[in-house]
Amino acid sequence: MAAVVSLQNVVKSYTRGRQRVEVLHSLNLEVQSGEFLGLMGPSGSGKTTLLNLIGGLDKPDEGQITVAGERLDQLSGSQMAAWRARHVGFVFQFYNLLPVLSAERNVEVPLLLTKLSRAQRKANVAAALALVGLSDRASHKPTELSGGQQQRVAIARALIADPTLLVCDEPTGDLDRESAEEILQLLTILNQKQGKTIIMVTHDPRAAAYATRLLHMDKGTLARDETRTAA
């Protein structure tokens, strides 16, 4: 399998007050196409920073990041935005849906950046909502949906542009156990049946059990890399 994500000697630091804190230290990583990668580690270990770099939300201080064949460290801000729209779907812990838009309008937002007609967008949105089992909630606003349903809308939004990579930051962190199981099963289906490459940050060992590969981070480095059979 080809590496869809490749990081070489990546260094990332932040400035907190007057202090410069190095969050990632010369990190190397390859993620193959079709993998379901779980990222675990204590708070401050650099999981979310790594996820932001892979998702094209941030740039490294040093090193090379290649995702879906593109050198992200060399892209300008607008090129990076266009690249994200085409290649990455994001799922956040707190869903981050637009509260005044209905579920279908939320899912449609990434497609507004494409040249698809209104009818095509509507058809794609209907298909995405059907995939996450929310066809009957299309016209509901986020506040009218449960946490699990909101996260499924967020997943539909992440999938709508058929991205190369799904980047999930604690996707079950705000959900009860039953809803969390449903979301994780949905991600597994997307990984196994649609071949989506998924990178998921989680603190929850039960969620991590769904990943086919688990990376443990500690103090900005990869402490352990284990390949496993998904739950």
């Binding site: 998702g55 939300l57 935005a81 729209a85 994001f90 005044v100 309008r105 937002v109």
Partner: protein, 386 residues
């Protein structure tokens, strides 16, 4: 257009705040449209006045009656070509809500003096033949759906000489002006009105005077006033233009006043709108970051915020000016103004254009800082709440 749902969504986020801001802008642009419409209307009044007509009024009190005998003396002043007295019947037509003022005058003299008054010759002749005849401005004819030959019943507010309050006039003609909207007066024969009046017979509230040489209007005015210098009914004569400008001058510099009020209102509005947009952007920091995450460029997010300010300002401004264009003719078409030959005022086209430009500027100035803030928004910092 496809981004419109996002713009509307942003405006709908806090509907009460948006509505209140919208109402403020509507009010401001309503004021702007109305006041500027009045401003232009007043300028039109001045433009339509002439230096070749003199108006003789009582020196003691504008509108106070003078003896009809003044007419002969004014006619004898060198340079005067015609004199038309004005006596007035105030009443209502059919309903108390239709107030009406009829001007009893020497219509032939009026035609000589006001050359802009356009009447068909046969209708002018009919006016001479018909004692209770009236010639009505086209705007008033349209307003009441009258036609030549109709009989107008009028309920006067004061009793006639015969003790009744009922007047009947026959429409024998209609007149128009270069600006037909302003053809609003109803002219009757002085003799007919004068004979029927219960009080105030043989009097005139003003004399309309035609002169041979407009360049001598000041000298002729002085000569007229000199004639009555020792009379208990002294006069104050001025050409029509000076008379109107003097009256308007008593209000003060209305142009500056109106422009000042509009300017102050719009300037205040700028801060209000800017605050609304800025607050809205601050509250949506995470949402804007999500849009950027999904692939919206910095510039696209900036334009969305500007579009939000633009939509709010343009929609509300359009509503405000539309309201002004509906209300202004309504509030400026009263019988008192009609009797003075002042037609309904309208919001001029220039004001629509000016309102569009002002709304655009309002949107730009109030939206630019929040838009720049949205453009500079760092995704990682915004999503982590920093």
């Amino acid at each position: 257009m496809k981004y419109l749902p996002l713009v509307w969504a942003a405006l709908r986020r806090k509907p009460t705040r948006t509505l209140l801001t919208c109402l403020s802008i509507v009010t401001a642009f309503f004021l702007f449209g109305t006041l500027e419409g009045i401003n232009v209307g007043i300028d039109n009044v001045v433009k339509l006045t002439s230096v070749s007509h003199l108006i003789v009024q009582s020196r003691v009190n504008q509108g106070a009656a003078m003896p009809l005998a003044h007419k002969t003396q004014i006619e004898s002043v060198p340079g005067v070509t015609a004199v038309a007295p004005f006596t007035i019947v105030i009443g209502t037509y059919k309903l108390p809500s239709n107030p009406m003022i009829i001007i009893g005058t020497d219509f032939d003299a009026m035609l000589k003096i006001s050359t802009d008054l356009m009447v068909a010759p046969e209708q002018a002749a009919a006016m001479r033949r018909t004692r209770n005849g009236v010639v009505v401005g086209v705007t008033t004819m349209q307003q009441y759906g009258w036609k030549v030959g109709d009989r107008i019943p009028l309920r006067g507010i004061g009793p006639k000489a015969d003790g009744s309050n009922d007047w009947q006039f026959d429409i024998v003609g209609t007149y128009t002006l270069q600006q037909p909207d302003w053809a609003t007066r109803v002219f009757a024969n002085y003799d007919f009105v004068n004979e029927a009046l219960g009080t105030g017979k043989n009097q005139s509230v003003l004399f309309y005077v035609g002169i041979s040489d407009p360049a001598k209007s000041a000298a002729i005015s002085q000569a007229i006033d000199d004639r009555f210098a020792n009379s208990p009914d002294q006069t104050n004569t001025a050409n029509e233009k000076d008379s109107v400008e003097t009256t308007l001058g008593q209000i003060g510099n209305y142009n500056l006043l109106i422009t000042g009020v509009c300017g102050a209102v719009l300037f205040t509005l700028l801060f209000l709108t800017a605050n609304t947009i800025a607050q809205s952007v601050r509250e949506r920091t995470a949402e804007l970051a999500v849009l950027k995450t999904l692939g919206f460029t910095d510039a696209a997010v900036q334009w969305l915020v500007l579009a939000e300010a633009f939509t709010l300002a343009m929609v509300a401004a359009a509503l405000g000016v539309a309201l002004a264009s509906w209300v202004l003719p309504w509030i400026t078409s009263g019988p008192r103004l009609s009797a003075q030959g002042i037609g309904a005022m309208h919001v001029p086209n220039l004001v629509y254009a000016a309102a569009a430009v002002l709304a655009l500027l309002l949107a730009l100035i109030s939206g630019v800082l929040p838009a720049v803030r949205a453009r500079r928004l760092n995704i990682v910092a915004a999503l982590s709440g920093r």
